[in-house]
């Protein structure tokens, strides 16, 4: 691994720890007595500090350290959890986030650190930490695996010898959990992981020190196991202790008994086990083995750069297009043999496409996760009381959609808090709960994912909308009179409409609901609103599960916009009509010593030539096979990422168009099939 790999690992892992900090601070605020959350925060801050330290990010490490000290006091109960502390810790988390994303934007870090420090009465936390760390590192003989009945049964029923493996990582090991994972993976090839100390899931969460122990069952010899672990770097020392079947494990735990008093568990277990009929537990055992391996499997994931996935998807899309082309050759020449052979190929490519699509699916929790914090901050700013309920956060969507819906969602939630939910006093007067409810939910519906934002606030008053719409010139009085109530409510999505009188920080930051609408529609989704005055509103967004996206260049021919896929574009030049030569009735230009045929898009796309003489013709040079062609357009608009939509071709002669794309303004651009347009 080089430094870059480390940096990537660091970035993604620190992201996770920051999320943990945010989440557990929120929980802690609502439940100040929750020791577990304090511990969780402490561990996250501690890990961040360590990671940043080894990476040489001194500022992160110092800030995390200051946080850690406060959390330590909280943990010891020396100071209580109150809004002040929580706000301060949140501020620190925000700055940690900034430090890892835009370090330049961080202001007054020293001020914050000293603010944090002023919370500390004594400065003895550092030594405490060390003490704690020291106490956990111990030799294998003392380790208490605290085995359950089932685990002991696995050991006794399976062939192979149990052994305890002690792994000592190097002091400055950066990613301990990663190394531990590599160890687990290596071991799994040779036998069964029974248990680890600390527990496997804790190790995976970076909750380990330099040393950890594994109880392992294998038929291989000690030497082979040691060898298999040998090539994992950053391991200081490996110590393997064999245990001869249960008796020894029992003896071992008795020995441990002498040293520590809390070993009764394991002894009891073994006694129980000896008394029981093993047969009656056979079924239970096998399920247990399964669940254990399942748990190990669940974490068998790798991180892949999205770009690599994208390029894989592009390749697959290309493959599908080529397949279709070959298929059409087979059909037009009635090549039965070829057609037969192509059938399985088409099945495979379709499956391939589906699995690549699946790989791009990520849970919507990636977006939802930021809301607890956002809602908390907003509620505090606006003196409102809000209960945020999140449902269906495991629902999966295409990565691109996840990236794009964040802002529209934030906007709508801000609206719901700013305009929807009333002040607590007002709510009490209306006989509602002081606490307003905002429900964020996601679920599948056919080939779509539905994302809903519900609030139990004051709802949208159609009368106000009517007035506003006329005022803003969004609709005329006669138009409005013909509309149903729900149509009127949908007017808030119209461009130029924004109901709030005063522009505040919460909503109405210059972007209106129309931006939300166009964004969602550009993702091929739709927005719907239901609202009842006094009861609340529901915003429903329907989104497609996946998208096919290409990079393209937007050009204009006559009155229409077209997209040329970027991958086939060589360059864009302005051609002077004087440079155009005619060879065998074909217009060509000379470009870098070769002859490039010119193709009039007007001609190919059935648009009439305007006949006006231009001094320069914007021309897109494309490469098809090994040949170059110049496509003459009227103007070049620019590069854009577009979502390809299939056009249902009822006429059967649409070869020149590969699909359609909906642009930001709702208009449609046609995607040019470069191969067809240059060869036909």
């Amino acid at each position: 691994m080089d430094m870059n790999d480390f940096q990537e690992l660091y970035a993604s892992e620190s992201r996770e720890h920051l999320d943990i900090l945010n989440d557990s601070l929120l929980t802690l605020e609502n439940d100040p007595e929750n020791m577990e959350m304090i511990n969780e925060c402490f561990r996250a801050a501690h890990t961040l500090k360590g990671m940043a330290g080894t990476m040489g990010f001194e500022r992160v490490s110092r800030l995390a350290h200051a946080m850690e000290n406060i959390l330590d006091l909280l943990r010891d109960g020396q100071i209580g959890v109150n809004t002040e502390v929580i706000n301060l810790l949140f501020k620190a988390v925000d700055n940690l986030e900034l430090l890892s994303s835009n370090p330049d934007e961080v202001e007054d870090l020293e001020g914050l650190i000293s603010e944090l420090k002023s919370f500390l009465e004594t400065d003895n936390t550092e030594t405490d930490n060390q003490k704690q760390e020291n106490s956990t590192s111990s030799s294998s003989a003392e380790i208490d695996f605290d085995l359950s009945d089932d685990e002991l049964r696995i050991i006794s029923d399976n062939s192979g010898d149990p052994m305890i493996i002690r792994i000592q990582l190097e002091d400055d090991c950066v990613f301990k959990s990663l190394r531990a994972d590599m160890v687990f993976e290596a071991l799994e090839e040779y036998g069964e992981l029974i248990k680890a100390h600390p527990a496997i899931d804790k190790i995976r969460k970076e909750e380990l020190d330099e040393t950890f122990h594994i109880l392992f069952l294998t038929i291989e010899s000690k030497e082979i196991i040691a060898e298999s672990l040998d090539n994992i770097s950053e391991i200081e020392e490996i110590e393997i202790t064999m245990i001869d079947q249960l008796e020894q494990l029992k003896d071992g735990s008795q020995q441990e008994d002498n040293k520590e008093d809390n070993q009764d568990g394991i002894k009891e277990d073994i006694k129980d086990l000896e008394d029981k009929e093993i047969e009656e537990n056979q079924v239970k055992k096998s399920t247990n083995v399964k669940s254990l391996s399942k748990r190990l499997k669940a974490n068998n994931t790798i991180r892949v750069d999205v770009e690599r996935l994208d390029s894989l998807m592009n390749l697959v899309a290309e493959l599908v297009i080529k397949r279709t082309q070959v298929e059409s050759v087979g059909e037009s020449y009635n090549l039965d043999e070829l057609n037969k052979k192509l059938k399985p190929l088409s099945k495979v490519t379709t499956e391939l496409q589906n699995s690549v699509m699946e790989m791009r699916m990520v849970p919507i929790s990636l977006v939802f996760n930021r809301f607890p914090r956002l809602v908390r901050d907003l509620a505090q700013d606006l003196d409102k009381e809000i209960n945020l309920v999140i449902e269906g956060e495991e629902t999966e969507l295409d990565r691109t959609i996840i990236d794009e819906i964040g802002d529209p969602l934030v906007h709508m939630v801000r609206n719901a808090i700013g305009h929807g939910i009333e002040d607590p006093e007002e709510r009490e007067r209306l006989g509602k709960d002081r606490e307003g409810l905002i429900k964020l939910s996601a679920f599948h519906e056919g080939n779509n994912v539905v994302v809903q934002i519900q609030d139990d606030g004051q709802g949208i008053n159609p009368e106000l909308i009517k007035k506003k719409a006329i005022e803003k010139g969004v609709a005329t009085l006669s138009e409005i009179e013909a509309m149903s109530e729900s149509e009127i409510i949908m007017l808030i999505l119209a461009a130029g409409f924004s109901t709030n009188e005063e522009v505040n920080d919460v909503s109405g930051r210059g972007v209106g609901m129309d931006v939300v609408k166009t964004k969602i529609e550009s993702l091929s989704g739709s927005v719907d609103i239901e609202s009842e005055v006094g009861k609340g509103s529901t915003f429903t967004m329907k989104l497609p599960l996946t998208l096919s996206i290409i990079q393209g260049f937007l050009i204009k021919v006559a009155d229409q916009k077209y997209v040329i896929p970027l991958e086939s574009i060589q360059e864009i030049v302005d051609v002077n009509p004087d440079d155009i030569k005619t060879i065998r009735q074909e217009k060509v230009i000379h470009r870098r010593g070769s002859v490039v045929p010119l193709i009039s898009l007007h001609d190919k796309l059935n648009k009439e030539e305007t006949g006006e003489l231009k001094r320069e013709i914007p021309t897109v040079i494309v490469e098809v096979g090994n040949d170059y062609y110049g496509l003459m357009a009227d103007s070049i608009i620019g590069q854009q990422e577009v979502v390809i939509k299939r056009i249902n071709d009822l006429s059967g002669n649409l070869e020149k168009i590969a699909g359609g794309a909906i642009l930001g303004d709702g208009s449609i651009a046609l995607i040019i099939n470069v191969e067809e347009i240059t060869t036909s």
């Binding site: 550009s522 299939r646 056009i647 009822l650 006429s651």
Partner: protein
């Protein structure tokens, strides 16, 4: 509703009244900007953006070889289901939804208002009007010319 009655959406093209089964109709929208397609024959008018989806549109006036008219406030696109996908059909106006008894539907003649039997499901007389029930699937999949009476090629 009894099993032998059906609901039919009635619309006008020129001076004729046509009907299609309501179960095939997904929605009726006002005229929208239609994006032209190159080489699209008279069978396909173009495509529209229907809430983020691209829907192909057929103009029945073109389909029936009638003269083109400017779209009016009454012009509608009826979005119907065809082979599992949405297809828009441009009509002069949508007039009503009718309940018809299946027993009232007469078999279509060999040709009706210049439209061949293939594209017809039947005809219904309602008061003074004759409503031509269209066979949507044949109509949308066919590539051949369909001509209304009194129109030249």
């Amino acid at each position: 509703m009894a099993a032998d009655t059906e609901q039919v959406i009635v619309f006008d093209i020129g001076s004729e009244k046509f009907g299609i089964k309501i179960t095939r109709v997904h929605e009726i929208v006002r005229m929208k900007e239609i994006t032209e397609l190159p080489n699209s024959s008279k069978y396909m008018e173009g495509i529209i953006n229907l809430r983020g989806d691209i829907v192909s549109v057929i103009d029945l006036r073109k389909r029936f070889n009638l003269e083109q008219i400017e779209s009016t406030n009454d012009t509608r696109i009826i979005v119907v289901e065809f082979e599992g996908q949405d297809v828009g059909v441009v009509v002069d106006n949508v007039s009503e939804v009718l309940h018809i008894q299946n027993s009232d539907v007469d078999l279509p003649p060999k040709s009706m208002a210049g439209i061949k039997e293939d594209y017809l499901k039947g005809i219904v007389k309602v008061d003074e009007d004759i409503i031509i029930l269209l066979n949507l699937d044949n109509l949308l999949s066919s590539k051949e010319n369909i001509q209304l009476e009194n129109e030249n090629k």
